[in-house]
Amino acid sequence: MPIKKTQVREIAWLARLAIEDEAMAGYAKDMADILALVEQMQAVDTSAVEPLAHPLEIAAQLRPDSVNEENRREDFQQTAPQTRDGFYIVPRFVE
């Protein structure tokens, strides 16, 4: 299935990736190849196979409900570009 440039742009936008115009054709071809591989796999009859939720066939180990983290705001906020009054500061957005 051929992939259009607009589809590449759309998918890149969903992942917030900036893609140069000249790279578009290459990505379109890569994606088309991946889909071709998927199509090939879909030819296999899997009606008798249980869906696999996780590659390791294990069950989740659960955690007891207790608080074992302390306040490390100061450490964490050292890498933030901007903070104020304990908040992380980002450019204004209003929905």
Partner: protein
């Protein structure tokens, strides 16, 4: 044309755990920003989420309470989108295999009972909070709420009016509080509602285009938002226009819904199973162990109240509407075991009026349940009249103290001494010659109404303490002479 509305709700309920759903940070409201956000909540590289067992227990408990099926294997999935209060760029949620599916609850509206389907309930983490106020040209992000556990409960589009939607919301609200899995605090955002609304010509079975109104945080607003949406959609269709499928926000100040800006592009969340989290496996033994922890649910409690205390359907449904009221009622009945009906009247009457007046929760009542019981005993044994009972209640409410002390100190004991009442009756007869004359000249069938005037006078003279029955009898006797 006659229209029918089709409504489904999505309720986001914050679970009352100590720690977050995937981290050991505290799950609390109202702390200083970002002091409860650990490396997992911040989505820092290299961290690994681990699911909280209490969150699983609470979800299973909810599922059992709505008669749903519990998934033997349920899977966490990543819901991918970018937003400043979602540091990882995805929310851990559930998609294909939610923990709870295919349940049902009953709602009562205008005396009719209807069964509403619960499509599913899935677990997910909450996002952080964006604060715009107090920041110019920028936005503050508080991630204390990031990773707080939520259960999202999705109903079937079985609701046909705003009233039914509110009934369902109240039902679920009461249920999660009975189960003690959430505090249900709407001001703090622990219980939020999205409403999906569409319309169709009455009698048709297809579905019209729906809109989703998001984040409505009170029962009243849900009713207003849905009614606004129904009217808006009917207006559009009758004017030959089309309803557009979109997400809207309710503005309570203007009592209207508006499309959300900046969300024009169709959402494409690209869900996939979260590789960090293996499936949660739940076996039957576990389900049965949770079932044994289920408390008495509102419908069972109501049935018991009707059978044990002889209460009406109305009284019992009022008292079980929330667990605190039901507990208070039963504690008061312990103090006055012979008078369950009178206790119910007092709780639903003077107590609830006082709570409403001061906007208090029943758990913060200024009069304790055992005092309500003591008060009821004194009304029942004739020590005080019903009317004086209200006065004693007000004294308890304002100044605390003991029922018998208040009756004693304020001299409120009902006067049952017939010579004392007789004296008051004589005074009233002597002081109202004209009215007495009128009474005696009136036809006997008219006298019944006229005697009320004299009763009122006697009661006034006794400051409400005379036994009204005795007053009536004595008056009738003396006026005949």
């Amino acid at each position: 044309m006659k229209w029918e509305s089709v409504i489904g709700l999505e309720l986001h309920v914050q679970l009352a755990t100590r720690s977050k759903i995937f981290s050991g940070a505290a799950n609390r409201f109202g702390e200083s920003p970002n002091t409860l956000a650990c490396a997992v909540d911040l989505g820092l590289p290299g961290v690994l989420p681990v699911a909280n067992e209490e969150v699983i227990r609470m979800a299973v408990m909810f599922g059992l309470a709505v008669d749903a099926s519990i998934a033997g294997q349920s899977v966490f999935a990543r819901k991918n989108y970018f937003y400043p209060d979602l540091p990882k760029g995805y929310q851990i949620s559930q998609y294909e295999l939610p923990i709870v599916s295919a349940g049902r609850v009953q709602i009562q509206v205008d005396g009719t009972t209807r069964e509403i389907g619960i499509t599913r309930a899935h677990l997910e983490e909450d996002a952080g909070k964006s604060v715009h106020e107090g920041f110019t040209g920028s936005t503050g992000i508080d991630l204390n709420r990031a990773g707080a556990p939520l259960i999202e409960i999705v109903s079937e589009p079985d609701l046909r009016s705003a009233g039914e939607a509110v009934a369902l919301m109240k039902k679920i609200h009461a249920l999660v509080r009975y189960l003690e899995i959430s505090d249900g605090n709407m001001q703090e955002g622990s219980f939020r509602c999205d409403a999906n609304v569409s319309i169709r010509p009455a009698g048709e079975s297809g579905l019209g285009t729906r809109t989703e109104t998001k984040n409505i945080n009170s029962f009243r607003f849900v009713e207003q938002a849905i009614n606004y949406e129904i009217d808006r959609q009917i207006g559009l269709v009758e004017a030959g226009q089309e309803v557009i499928q979109e997400t809207r926000l309710f503005d309570p100040d203007r009592n209207e819904t508006r499309p959300m800006r900046g969300k024009e592009e169709a959402n494409d969340y690209r869900y996939f199973p979260d590789p960090d989290l293996p499936p949660v496996v739940i076996d039957n033994d576990y389900i049965e162990s949770v079932r044994r922890q289920l408390p008495e649910l509102p419908e069972q409690k109501q049935q018991r109240f009707m059978e044990t205390y002889g209460l009406s359907e109305y009284d019992s449904s009022y008292l079980v509407a929330n667990r605190e009221t039901a507990d208070y009622y039963e504690a008061a009945v312990v103090a006055a075991p012979e008078q369950p009906k009178l206790v119910a009247n007092t709780v639903m009457g003077v107590l609830s009026a006082s709570l409403n007046r001061e906007n208090l929760d029943i758990k913060d009542s200024k009069v304790s349940a055992d005092k309500v019981g003591n008060l009821v005993i004194r009304i029942a044994d004739g020590t005080i009249s019903n009317k004086i009972g209200k006065q004693v209640f007000e004294s308890l409410w304002e100044g605390g103290g003991d029922v018998d002390d208040i009756i004693e100190k304020q001299g409120l004991k009902q006067v049952t001494d017939s010579s004392e009442i007789g004296r008051l009756v004589d005074e009233v007869i002597a002081g109202n010659e004209a009215q007495v004359q009128q009474y005696r000249n009136a036809a006997p069938e008219k006298r019944g109404k006229m005697i009320g005037y004299f009763v009122g006078q006697v009661m006034k003279k006794s400051k409400g303490k005379a036994n009204p029955k005795q007053v009536n009898l004595l008056l009738a006797e003396k006026l005949e002479k």
